[in-house]
């Protein structure tokens, strides 16, 4: 079929206003937040109804057009970079919260709902949706599910997958597949909704998502502990968990990040400190008081030189502002900022920190490290300028080595950013040849023409 005829078909399916063909519009959907080369799609469509989304999916399959679903495009592993000549299907026209059920504590949403807006709507009704990825003010719930996004509360409250109760999604033939339910317990059929989580748009196109909600904690206490070494800080993390305390958040920053944040905000952070822990315990007031005291004690025993406990909401905000400032402050130092999310079992954090230190020296690179120490999800952030070709080569080698070391410590390639295009080459290293082949066989049956976000997670088809 000619290009014009295909465009007309899409226009009939989603409305003429919702099909973008100009060079400028297509270029604007050729990238995401990953530091990767952009790829121009042939067409961009923005369905505004469930039915139109199904039709668009079928049209792509009928014409053998690669289809990449895109929410807010905040992806950090290239999962929303389109395939050459493919179609980008936007979900931000599908942004309705269909139901928030207070009695049964769940919500039904369309994939394009912005995470923070959803969390705020839920909070208005006295409930809580914990996953809070760093991009939550713009990221969409569909994208969060597709990437299994995490956030600061992963340690105690889990990540997106722990909140997906069910899902309707379109298969490549434009048929609606239903999985999961509005009940807490459900073992009807395969756990297809579970299969969709972290599938990065390679297995189906999300239509409606049922999300679990929980009651919010009654009280919380935040503190900042200062350590003379990263080792002491990371040993404190291990000690807190070993003592059966699970803080809501347990975040770490190295000296480089501390100094950068202080330069940026001037909020009075200790610039001489080798490491900082930002800790929040929450729950019943009595439990909070008890756990806060224990955490304080453990920090001191493990060498904390100073401990600041937030007395009120303003002080609590200041603690979390310091953490929120980490990425923006680092990002201002150099043009290119490669934010990695290598993750290790939390007992291995001291070893991983040491490895990162060695890697930064070996490749002569600036690496600021901060992250979710409590769940072992670190964000080594390499500061560079992609235009400096020699340095960029060293960056690529350093990234390879970061993953080698994380895997050697029993860790994983990605805690929360996904595999996408950026890390598909390492997938077999973490899993096995058989895993990769099993995944490819599965995809080849569900998506025989290979149109669903090709090249992501399991790599290009030709390698199969």
């Amino acid at each position: 079929m000619s290009k014009d005829a295909i465009t007309k078909d899409f226009e009939a399916a989603v409305g003429a206003d919702n099909v973008m063909t100009s060079e400028t519009d297509r270029h604007a959907y050729s990238y995401d937040a990953a530091v990767l080369d952009s790829v121009m799609p042939a067409l961009v469509v923005r369905p505004t109804t469930s039915e139109a989304l199904g039709k668009a999916t079928k049209l792509c399959n009928d014409n053998g057009l690669p289809l990449t679903v895109r929410g807010a495009g905040t992806n950090l592993s290239g999962g929303t970079i389109p395939h050459p000549g493919g179609v980008v299907v936007l979900t931000n026209g599908l942004n309705r919260i269909l139901e928030i059920n207070e009695e049964d504590m769940y919500a039904v949403v369309e994939p394009g709902v912005v995470t923070a807006k959803f969390a705020a709507e839920v909070a208005k009704r006295g409930l809580f949706y914990p996953p809070d990825p760093g991009s939550q003010t713009v990221s969409t719930l569909g994208g969060n599910v597709a990437e299994n996004a995490g956030g600061l509360r992963g340690l105690k409250y889990g990540v997106t997958k722990d909140y997906v109760m069910g899902m309707d999604f379109w298969d490549v033939n434009g048929e609606l597949v239903k999985s999961g339910s509005r009940t807490v317990k459900c073992v009807t059929g395969y756990n297809l909704a579970g299969l969709m989580v972290a599938s990065e748009g390679t297995l189906g196109v999300f239509d409606k998502i049922i999300l679990k909600l929980i009651p919010p904690a009654q009280s919380a206490k935040s503190m900042m502990a200062i350590f003379p070494s990263m080792k002491a800080a990371s040993e404190t993390v291990a000690a807190i968990i070993a003592n059966k305390i699970v803080p809501a958040t347990l975040e770490m920053m190295d000296n480089f990040t501390i100094r950068t944040v202080e330069n940026f905000r001037g909020a009075g952070l200790p610039v001489d400190a080798a490491a900082l822990l930002l800790i929040e315990v929450d729950g019943h007031p009595a439990q909070v008081a008890d756990e806060a005291a224990k955490v304080e004690d453990l920090c001191r025993k493990n060498g904390a030189t100073e401990l600041k406990v937030a007395k009120d909401a303003a002080e609590r905000d200041a603690v979390w502002q310091a953490r929120r400032d980490a990425l923006p402050a680092l990002a201002k130092l150099k043009p290119t900022c490669v934010l990695e999310d290598a993750t290790v079992p939390r007992s291995k954090i001291p070893a991983m920190i040491e490895a990162l230190d060695e890697i930064s020296k070996k490749f002569d690179l600036t690496i600021g490290t901060f992250g979710h120490a409590g769940d072992g999800n670190l964000h080594p952030t390499i500061l560079t300028d992609k235009r400096d070709k020699k340095e960029w080569e060293r960056v690529e080698h350093a990234i390879d080595e970061i993953f080698d070391r994380a895997l050697a410590l029993g860790g994983t390639l990605s805690g929360e950013h996904g595999i996408g295009m950026a890390k598909s080459k390492y997938l077999e290293q973490e899993t096995s040849r058989a895993t990769l082949e099993y995944s490819r066989r599965m995809k080849s049956v569900l998506d025989p023409k290979g149109i669903l976000n090709p090249g992501k997670i399991i790599g290009p088809k030709s390698e199969g």
Partner: protein, 426 residues
């Protein structure tokens, strides 16, 4: 196009600034245009990607990029929220200048900027004449707001509810002032700005009245020119330079402690853009940086320098406040105008999203009226929902846009400049 390569080279000059965008997409959360359209080319990240694409010859449709570049209010909200600290306004203004250099200025803009703005006397004469005859073409629609609409089908005006030109502009009511410092010991220069002069002379009169009341000497030279932002945002740096030059001739020699304005846009243009974007000869003759340091918004001057304090509301009007982008995003001024409203004795009611752009954006309102109206409609809803009887702001351009929006809604809410409230009392 044959010389697209040349254009690409010009855009490569912006490369060092463009490369700072890490494509995180956080600008999507705050961009008022993106909030309406949901299209990536309408948000900053997309526009920066397009400029980058042009610079590296990945794109050939320069006209298309130019069209997207102009779908921006220049409200600066993205810049003040950008995690990477990208100097977005600098990039956009320079990019518009490059585009205008490449495509040329449209005949209409050429006539307005170079034919009229550049010549303040002619500009005044034309608007004076317009004020006399406008009644033939317009009819009143809202007495409270003083808004009118077109009597006949008029392409530029459309169905806007607008403020007509003042019967007597400020330059007729008060041609010039040069009074010594009174009890305050302070003397200020007053930069009037076009919209206050020609549409809201009462705002200018209020500033003068308040300054006199506080014993502040006023230096207000005649023949002031436009601050240059309309020309600059259309990429016409030639007219911009010429206008800054005229103003530097008027103000550069005066003796004063501060330069105050009642227009958020003029204030931010003088402070942010005159020193950075001006490339004419006055840079050697006058100290633009010194003028920049002296320049203040009127409420900032009254609160920070004269130490005005809030009063208990005395049963006067209930007032809400809209933050103009050029005060909030460009200069970080949000507290002082609110203090001034309270100093006037008004009851203050904060509205939702007070810091979100009203959608005016100068020429954006003319080129993209539908979008401008959608953004402004939301502002009007928030104003009405606040329950206040009056909305005050610090920018006459915002006053025009908000008047249009409220008048259409027949909301019964009055629009005032904060200085009017303080001058006349609540």
């Amino acid at each position: 196009m044959a010389d697209i390569h040349k254009l690409a080279q010009m855009f490569q000059e912006l490369d060092d600034q463009l490369v700072g965008c890490m494509r995180c997409g956080m600008c999507q959360a705050v961009c008022p245009v993106f909030a309406q359209t949901g299209r990536e080319a309408d948000v900053t990240r997309g526009k920066l990607a397009l400029l980058d694409g042009l610079a590296h010859e990945m794109l050939s449709d320069a006209e298309g990029v130019n069209e997207k570049l102009n779908r921006c209010l220049l409200c600066g909200t993205c810049q003040s929220n950008c995690p990477s600290g990208v100097k977005i306004m600098d990039i956009f203004l320079k990019a518009r200048a490059i585009m205008t250099g490449y495509f040329g200025l449209s005949p209409v803009k050429r006539a307005i900027f170079r034919g009229m703005l550049k010549n303040p006397k002619l500009f005044n004469a034309l608007t004076d004449m317009g004020a006399k005859f406008q009644g033939l073409f317009t009819k009143k629609v809202d007495d409270l707001l003083g808004s009118s609409c077109a009597r006949f089908n008029a392409p530029v005006i459309g169905d806007r509810h607008f403020r007509t030109l003042a019967e007597k502009p400020l330059h007729k009511l008060v041609p010039a002032l040069d009074t010594p410092a009174g009890k305050s010991g302070i003397r200020v220069a007053l930069y009037v700005g076009c919209v206050i002069d020609k549409m809201f002379p009462h705002v200018g009169q209020s500033i003068i009245k308040v300054l006199e009341r506080h014993g502040v000497g006023v230096f207000m030279p005649s023949g002031q020119a436009c601050c240059g932002i309309p020309a600059l945002s259309s990429g016409d740096t030639e007219t911009f330079d010429s206008l800054v030059g005229i103003n530097m001739e008027r103000f550069g020699t005066g003796e004063f402690d501060y330069l105050v304005t009642g227009c958020a846009t003029c204030t931010s243009t003088i402070k942010e853009l005159w020193p950075r974007m001006y490339q004419g000869p006055s840079a050697q003759k006058y100290d633009i940086a010194a003028l920049e340091r002296k320049t203040m918004d009127i409420s900032q001057f009254l609160v920070d320098i004269l130490k005005l304090e809030p009063k208990d509301a005395t049963g006067g009007k209930s007032v809400t406040y809209h933050d103009p982008c050029h005060l909030k995003n460009a200069l970080g001024i949000t507290a002082q105008p609110r203090t001034l409203i309270k100093a006037a004795g008004c009851g203050f009611k904060e509205m939702a999203e007070a810091g979100v752009c009203c959608g005016c954006g100068g020429s954006f309102n003319i080129a993209h009226y539908e979008l401008s109206r959608e953004i402004g409609g939301r502002k009007a809803e928030n104003i009405v929902a606040s329950g206040a009887g009056t909305v005050a702001t610090s920018c006459p351009a915002c006053m025009l846009q908000i008047t249009d929006m409220l008048s259409r809604k027949k909301a019964g809410v009055d629009v005032k400049h904060v200085i009017e409230l303080y001058a006349d009392g609540c």
